[in-house]
Structure formats: structure tokens, C-alpha cells
Amino acid sequence: MSRLIRSRWQRWINRRIPRSDVQLLTQRNLFILPTAPGVVFGVLLLIMLITGINYQNSLIYLVTFLLGAVFVGAMHQTHRNLAGLELTLVQTGEGFAGDDILFRLRAAAGKDDAIAVTLSDGDTSVRIGHVPSGQSADVALPVGSAFRGYLRPDRIRIETRFPFGLLKAWSWMRPISTAVVFPRPIAAPDVVSAVDDGEQTASSRSPEGNDHAELRPWRDGDMSQRVMWKRFARSGQMVVADWEADKRSPHWLDFNAFAGADHEVRLSYLSWLVVERGKSGSRFGLNLPGQVIEPDSGPAHATRCLRALAVWGEEKPRDAVGAPYGTRRTTDSGRRAKPGAVI
């Protein structure tokens, strides 16, 4: 029953707050309710009123009404803290699976000051604090990631309890933009042994490897650089050189090199390798089914490789899909299967 209500409520909110990277808080999408201390305060006011009635004490009546009116005034103030505030998702961060990925958000206050504002996603919350009228403040909200791929929190909650903490006004932002989460690096077994053997194994492989270029017919997704254009000119057949051997060379990090391992594990191995190579600054290329990144070096190249590893086989979440993506929370509740495992 409560689940039904909750899902209804969820749908109602999702209709009310469409996905967007920019959220202007207005009466349409701001919610306000008393907090637990606020409810107790209400009970206290009731007790005070009964005291006033019993002792026929006008001043107790007066102070009860005064505090009741202050409560209503606080409702106004609490609402105004957020009303007119514009929340923008400025930048999504990157990181390895399991880490907290930073989402940079900017809160621009409207014509009223935004006071004591907190952003939260699940358990993590970040205090923005005070944003004077007409100014803006940037804040980085860490979102816990569960696995590699695209990461998009379902809802980022923005809340204030100012002035008295008796009421809370809140709203949600449902961002479109996604962060990219790299596969968690796992030390690759192959390389562990390579390190033991030293240069010898690597050098003994590379000369013979060059001869083992296997030829196969062209298929969809192969890069044009790989097509044997000379052969095409001769025979008219699109033949692709499969650089089997080339990929065995230390310059190439190959998805197919880890036979028997799960896809995700392979990606984690590759991720570790990319990080290692990136650290040492050596040249390397990345071969993934359907995607090949030519050998290069430097941090930009490493990031590019990591990104390719992160989104391999993943589909970018569409705007219309309301489901959260890749956050730890959704995984824990088991509502959604791990997308990579299906492939």
C-alpha cells in the first residue's frame, strides 16, 4: 500500500519537476512542511492554549497567538528562502566506480536572500549556506557511484529550514546531464607476470607479432584506417587487417587479451593498465570491440581511453527516462540490474 502511494507520489513529482539542468524554484515546485520539531512546537502551542484557557490568563493567550503567528510568518520566510532561486548543474565530474563523483552546481538567489540552503543526494549533503540576493554560489555535491558507465542522480534535493527549523521547504532538481564513471581499476594479471619477466617477454613477442596480422572481411564498425585499401584497389574486396599481433605488443591494451574473464573485469583490468601507463607517460593504444584508440600518450589521451572504457556498451540515458542512473542508492535497493552484465 505504502509502496503504491510512494510510486504514485514519485510519478506526480516527476510530472511536476521535469528533467532539466536548470531549475528555477517557484511555487509550482516548492514544497513546505513542518519538521519534527515543528510538530512538537504545534503540540506545545496547544498545551499553552489549554493553560491559558484553564487559568483564564489573557497574556498566555496573547503569547500563544504570537508564537502561532510567528510560525506562520516562518512559513513565509522559509518559502521565500528558496523561491526565485535558480539551481544550475554547471559541470559533472568524472571518477572511478565506487568513488563519489562531484556534481558542480550553481545556486543563484532571486530577489530574496537564500539562507541556510543545503543540497543533498541520498545520504550525502552539502551546505551552500547563505547566498545574498542577486548573487550566486557554487558548490560541489558528491554523488556515490556504483559501477562504471553514465551516472545521473535521480533527484538532487535542495532544502532550507531557516529561520527556526520548525519548517522545511524543499524542492528537487532532476538533472539531465550525466557524469562518466570509469571502471574501477583492478590489477591486470597479465601485466603482473610481465613485470616479473621484465623486458624479455615483451621484446620476444613483438617481432613475431607483426607477421600475424589476420585478414578478415570488413564488417560494420571497423575503422577505415584498418581497411587494406591496396587490396581493395586490386580485388574490390573490403578486407580488414585484424591487428591481432599488434595488439599483443606492449603499446596496445586489448580487450581480447584477457580470455575467460568477465567483460566488466576486463574493463577494470584495462582501466588499471591505462592508469598505470598514464602514470609512466608511455605510449599506448586501446582496442575495444567496436572502438580503437590509436596509440598516444599524455593525460588527455588517458582520460579519453578511460572514458571509452567507461561508456563501452552503455547507452546514454535518454532525457525522457526518469530512472536514476548508476547511483549507489539505486543499486542497493536492487531495482535495476547492472547494465554491463547484460551485454
Binding site: I53, Q56, S58, L59, I60, H76, Q77, F164
Partner: protein, 704 residues
């Protein structure tokens, strides 16, 4: 080891989460709320509170640690033990208040998290409420409300510790908020139906209040004479009586026993009923007078001679005395009227009554008895009284606040040796002599006098106006008032105690801080009178605004309001108030949103696009949107592109303020016209497409 470390460090890290300033305001508020309780609380409790709050403060500063669980429990048990020993099982309002304060004090040691902070907040707000039960003067009301304000400031700091501006900004925000809601508060105060009490707990204090008591030992009233506390205030419907006629009768003492005068009549104990404060409403008739009495915890009311009760909360009992239906544990207003009609019947004294008023101890004071016998031999009843008064007038009797001690046969030593005494001494002695002479007599205790408040609007009677005099039974006339003090010190009766003891200099000699002590300084006198006037009006109109006075006010309004209608009215006020507040805020929001005229036109365009099936995407440029709209609705293609160009030219052309300001309205007009055209075109297109609906919308979606 590690367990201990953690359990000791944990609270400390948590206590850091409370902002120091918030805690400070809470403590200041606590101190402020204790001031009205000052005379009620034992000293040790005050000290404990100070120590505990100080401990908490030092812990906040990081100088000391907050006590661990065991120490805390120990402190708790020790303090409760001390409390129980001190209280010794008597349950009064004072002990309850002490316990309340003790819990707050103990809570200081436990205030670690925001939740504890709120618990303290609730307790302190209720402490302010309890304070209102005992003190209702303007200044105490201000202290209490100010303390609540401080609590609210503390909450603000707790919720936004980083907020700049600190206390000033906090007060300003609170003040603005209060100003906004004040009309509703006032309306609620006036119209909220004052219901009958649901149940009642008597507010009986264990502490003796300053005021006259029902026994009179020589010396009692002279200690009262050193107090300038207010006894009651009176407003007269007609003219005020002369000073010498202001005899406020309170109670009658008729039994002399071991040098002490007491009441013999058994005052039946009334079960404390519901609080009934209705003290009469409407304009005062010329004969009527309205008394606002300070709490005495007693049932007696003070009245002029020959009065009748007007309000329901006082009843006339035997001996022309007035009594409340329940002890006056809070300020009471009641209304009486002077009865000037001549008495119809000749009063008679029943034999039992006569015996009662002739009671004397079997022995003692032989010289006074001899004097009585002497007077009685040569005179009639009236003659005895006359000659006794002239004896007081002619012989060197003194009226003094510093009478000598007269341990044995006090009346004899007063009449024949020392000849120095206070009104109580003389009244007692006179009654003794009259009774010895066979004339029924009784001591009357009450107040005599009272000075005018500001503007001569009302009379203030203070404790130093306490007085004792004598009533004697004269056959054919009834009870006759005899005041020996008038014979000895006419000043006392004509103009008050201050003049009577002016030479002696003993007027309020121990009350340094009393404004009455410096009554001859014009400025102080004026200031204290004005202050008292404000308080009087406050008590009559705000504090005393209760059931009957509310009904009276309502009956003057058209429409005949009953308590039920008042209930509806109150609900209506709350509803309308909330509605108005909501409307105002909605209007403000709208005005804020529509300040930019371009923005409004743009909004209208976006709406139009959405209706045409081309929802706006975030970050889309106007021209991109226009081209999508054109693809979806070819009919409006040209207008849409033109519109997008205009939007672009407005937002992206170089800033030249004067030109843009002048052209602005012109441009807006053209854009509006363009919008209207597009709407028309869309409608037309829609009619044509009715046979083939939703086609365009689809193509619009696919085009992206």
C-alpha cells in the same frame, strides 16, 4: 581503553555542532526568564543553575569536558535528593516551579545536539508561559516576550550559523515578521472565544505574600508599613471619597488571646473552584467603584463601608465583609457600589454576637481594666468612647513606626507608660478598654488612604496604607467606627503615613529602591505614577480581557455575537489571514517574474511553441527553436523566423542604454503583434489540419 576514549570523545565532537552564539542566546534567555521567579526560587537552586549553565559554557569554549554518563547521573540524583529534602513533600506552585527550573538546569549538561537544543527551547517557552501565571505587569510581560524573542534568535543562529549580521539582522528579521503578523495576533486576541476553564489546579503558593494577615500581633502592621508594594487600585465611577473617608475594610478580629487578636469566626474552606475572574463590565455607574487587587492567596476582598457587591466574583458575608469565591492567587478585579440609602431598620445585636464581641482574657492588663471601670461609672456608652478618644488626643501619645517592646501587659504599658505605638497597638488597646467597659467592640483590619494615580484617574493603595481601627456597638446606631489613630496622629488619616512619620524619618526606611520613598522628588513621583498608570490600563484592558469583558465588547458590535459566532469568526480570521498572506506572496512572485517585459513576451512565445507541439529544449537558441517551429508548422515559418531575429537582436546587440530604453516599448509592441499573428495563423492551420490531426506534431518530434 579504546572504548573509553571513544565514549569520552564522542560527546565532545557532537557538542561542537552547536554554534556558541546560539547557546549563548539560550542562556541569556534562561537568565531573563528566571528573573520573574526570583522571589519564588530558593537561593541554592539559582546557584545550581548558574553553575550548570556555566559548566556548559566552559565546555563549549573547550576549557572543560562535559560530564560523562555516570557523573551526569550522579549529579542528577544528588540534585533531586537535595530538592526532595528541601521540599519535604509539600506540593505547591513554588515547588513545582522549582522542579521545572531544576530540570532546565540539568538539561544544560545534556545539550549536545540540535535535538537537545529544541527540547530546551520548548521548556523555556513553557517557562515563560508559567511566568505569566504569576506576573502580569507590563514590564514582566516585556521581559517574558523578550526572552522568547531571544530564544527565536538562538534558533535562527542554530539553523544558519554562517549568516552575517548576527544579532541585529536576527532581531530585524524577527521584528519584520512580527510586524507582519501583528494584525492577525490582535484580531485573534480580541475575537478568540474565551472558553470556560476545562479544569483547574489552584495556584496556591507556599510562600507568604506581603499583605495583611488574619492575626494581629502588635508589630505586624508596622512591618507592613515598610513595604511599598501595591495592595490594590480603585477607579471610582463618581467622585473619589475624601482621604479621611477611605477606610477599606478587610477583615474583623474579635478574639484576644495571649496578646494576639484573631478571627473567631470559622472561615469555611471552599474547595478551589474554577477560576472566575469576571469582575463586572460596562461603564461604571456613579456609585460604583472598580477594584483591581493584587494576589493575596486569601479570599478576602477590601471594600468601603456600606458597600454592596456588583460583580459576581465577590459575595457579601456576615459583618459587611466581602469574600471571593476562591483565593485570589492572581490579580482580581471586582466591582462594588456604595450604598447611600439611609438604613431602614434599627440594627440589633443578638446575645450570642454580643458575647462574642465582649470576649476578654480572664486576667492581665489590670490598669486598663481599672481605667475602663472608671470611665464606665461616670459615662454612657457614647461618653466612654468620647472620653477615651479625648484621652488619646490630650495626653502625650505618639504615633511611631519604632515602638518600644512591650512584653508583659502590653496594653497597660502602651496606655500608661510608654505611650508610643502604632495603629495596631492603639486599636487593640481601645477595643480592650471598650470591652472592659461592657461595650461590644472589634478590631477591623484593612487599609486606610491611598494616593491618586497619574491624572487623578484612580487610587493606588499600598501596603504601607495598612491600618487597624475599631468598631464599637452603640445601641440604636449600630456599629460605629472609632479610630484612635485619628485622635493621636490626625496626619495619618488626613494625608497618609508619609506625613505622619515625617519627623521620625522612618517612612520606608528599609526600602531603598522604592519610588515611593522618594515621593517628594517630583520627577520620580511623576515617572512612577506614569508607569503605574500604564500598568493599570494594561491590567484592566489586556490582562483583564476575559470572558465577560469580551462578551461585553462583542455585544457592542452589530450582529449580536455569541461564543459560537466568535469561534466561527476566529476560524474565519485565521483563514482569511492565511489567504491574504498567500495572495500577497503570489503577487510578489509574479511581479518579480514579470519585471522583464521581454521575458514575458518570450514566455508567451514559448507557450505558443509548446501548444504547437514543439516544446522548448534547454539551451536552445531562439533561431533553432524558430526553425523547428517552422518545420512543424509551415504556416508560421516566416513570422517565427522574424520573431527569433528580433529576440536575438534584443539580447545580442551592443548595449546602448538610452537607445534601447526608447526603442524598447516600440519593439515589444511589434513582437506582441507578431505573436498575435502567429496565434491566428496557427489557429487557421489547426482548422485545416483537423482532418489529419497530430500529423504535424509528430513531424515536429521526428525532426530533431
Amino acid at each position: 581503553m579504546s572504548f573509553w576514549n571513544r565514549s569520552q570523545q564522542e560527546p565532545e565532537t557532537q557538542s561542537d555542532t552547536l554554534p556558541s552564539r546560539a547557546l549563548l542566546w539560550l542562556m541569556v534567555s534562561f537568565a531573563l526568564l528566571l528573573t520573574p521567579q526570583f522571589d519564588r526560587l530558593p537561593v541554592w537552586l539559582m546557584a545550581v543553575c548558574v553553575v550548570l549553565a556555566g559548566w556548559r559554557w566552559l565546555a563549549q569554549q573547550g576549557r572543560v569536558r562535559l560530564p560523562g554518563r555516570w557523573l551526569r547521573t550522579g549529579i542528577l540524583l544528588a540534585l533531586i535528593a537535595v530538592y526532595l529534602i528541601r521540599v519535604q513533600g509539600s506540593f505547591t506552585v513554588d515547588t513545582a516551579a522549582s522542579f521545572f527550573v531544576l530540570t532546565v538546569g540539568l538539561k544544560w549538561l545534556e545539550t549536545r545536539t540540535a535535538r537537545d537544543f529544541y527540547v530546551l527551547f520548548y521548556i523555556l517557552v513553557y517557562l515563560a508561559t508559567v511566568n505569566f501565571l504569576f506576573h502580569q505587569e507590563v514590564h514582566w510581560a516585556l521581559v517574558n516576550i523578550g526572552a522568547i524573542g531571544l530564544l527565536l534568535i538562538g534558533l535562527q543562529v542554530l539553523n544558519a550559523p554562517e549568516l552575517p549580521g548576527g544579532m541585529k539582522a536576527g532581531w530585524r528579521r524577527l521584528g519584520v515578521m512580527l510586524l507582519k503578523v501583528l494584525p492577525i495576533v490582535v484580531l485573534l486576541f480580541v475575537f478568540f472565544p474565551r472558553m470556560e476553564p476545562l479544569w483547574s489546579v489552584p495556584l496556591v503558593s507556599g510562600k507568604a505574600r506581603t499583605g495583611i494577615s488574619d492575626t494581629m500581633r502588635p508589630g505586624d502592621i508596622s512591618s507592613l508599613a515598610q513595604s511599598s508594594a501595591r495592595a490594590f487600585r480603585v477607579t471610582f465611577g463618581g467622585s473619589m471619597p475624601e482621604y479621611r473617608d477611605r477606610y477599606w475594610r478587610g477583615l474583623i478580629l474579635d478574639t484576644l488571646d495571649d496578646g494576639t487578636w484573631r478571627q473567631s469566626g470559622y472561615e469555611p474552606y471552599r474547595r478551589p473552584g474554577r477560576v472566575d475572574l469576571d469582575g463586572g463590565v460596562g461603564e461604571l455607574q456613579p456609585q460604583e467603584y472598580d477594584v483591581l487587587m493584587e494576589p493575596t492567596d486569601q479570599r478576602w476582598a477590601f471594600a468601603l463601608e456600606r458597600s454592596v457587591a456588583v460583580s459576581d466574583n465577590v459575595v457579601k458575608e456576615a459583618d459587611d465583609l466581602f469574600r471571593f469565591r476562591r483565593p485570589a492567587d492572581s490579580p482580581v478585579r471586582y466591582r462594588l457600589a456604595r450604598d447611600n440609602s439611609p438604613e431602614q431598620t434599627v440594627p440589633t445585636l443578638e446575645p450570642g454576637q454580643a458575647r462574642r464581641y465582649l470576649q476578654l482574657p480572664a486576667s492581665g492588663n489590670p490598669r486598663a481594666r481599672a481605667l475602663a471601670a472608671d470611665l464606665r461609672q461616670s459615662n454612657s456608652e457614647v461618653g466612654v468612647i468620647r472620653s477615651l478618644l479625648s484621652r488619646f488626643r490630650e495626653q502625650p501619645y505618639f504615633y511611631t513606626l519604632r515602638p518600644p517592646r512591650m512584653p508583659d501587659n502590653g496594653i497597660d504599658s502602651l496606655l500608661f507608660d510608654d505611650m508610643r505605638g502604632f495603629c495596631a497597638h492603639y486599636a487593640g488597646a481601645t477595643t480592650f478598654v471598650l470591652r472592659s467597659a461592657g461595650i461590644p467592640a472589634r478590631v477591623v483590619v484593612g487599609y486606610q488612604g491611598g494616593e491618586s494615580g497619574a491624572g487623578d484617574e484612580y487610587l493606588v493603595v499600598r501596603q504601607y496604607d495598612a491600618h487597624a481601627w475599631v468598631e464599637a456597638w452603640v445601641e440604636g446606631q449600630g456599629w460605629v467606627r472609632i479610630d484612635p489613630t485619628a485622635a493621636i496622629a490626625p496626619n495619618r488619616i488626613e494625608s497618609g503615613l508619609r506625613d505622619a512619620v515625617a519627623e521620625e524619618g522612618s517612612f520606608l526606611e528599609n526600602e531603598w529602591a522604592s519610588a515611593q520613598r522618594y515621593g517628594d522628588v517630583a520627577l520620580i513621583r511623576w515617572a512612577s505614577q506614569q508607569l503605574d498608570r500604564i500598568n493599570y490600563q494594561w491590567q484592566r484592558w489586556v490582562v483583564g480581557y476575559q470572558g465577560q469583558s469580551q462578551m461585553d465588547l462583542m455585544s457592542r458590535l452589530p450582529g449580536g455575537f455569541g461564543i459560537k459566532e466568535l469561534g466561527y469568526l476566529t476560524a474565519g480570521i485565521v483563514g482569511v489571514g492565511l489567504l491574504i498572506a498567500g495572495l500577497i506572496s503570489a503577487l510578489q512572485m509574479r511581479r518579480g517574474a514579470s519585471r522583464d517585459r521581454y521575458g514575458r513576451v518570450l514566455g508567451a512565445w514559448y507557450q505558443l511553441c509548446e501548444r504547437a507541439g514543439v516544446p522548448v529544449r534547454s539551451g536552445e537558441t531562439p533561431s533553432a527553436l524558430a526553425s523547428r517551429l517552422a518545420a512543424a508548422e509551415p504556416a508560421v515559418a516566416d513570422s517565427a523566423r522574424l520573431f527569433a531575429r528580433m529576440v536575438n537582436s534584443h539580447y545580442y546587440r551592443p548595449q546602448s542604454k538610452s537607445a534601447s530604453a526608447r526603442d524598447g516599448s516600440d519593439e515589444i509592441q511589434r513582437m506582441r503583434r507578431l505573436l498575435a499573428t502567429m496565434r491566428r495563423q496557427l489557429r487557421k492551420a489547426g482548422k485545416n489540419q483537423r482532418s489529419n490531426p497530430r500529423h504535424l506534431a509528430h513531424s515536429g518530434k521526428l525532426s530533431d
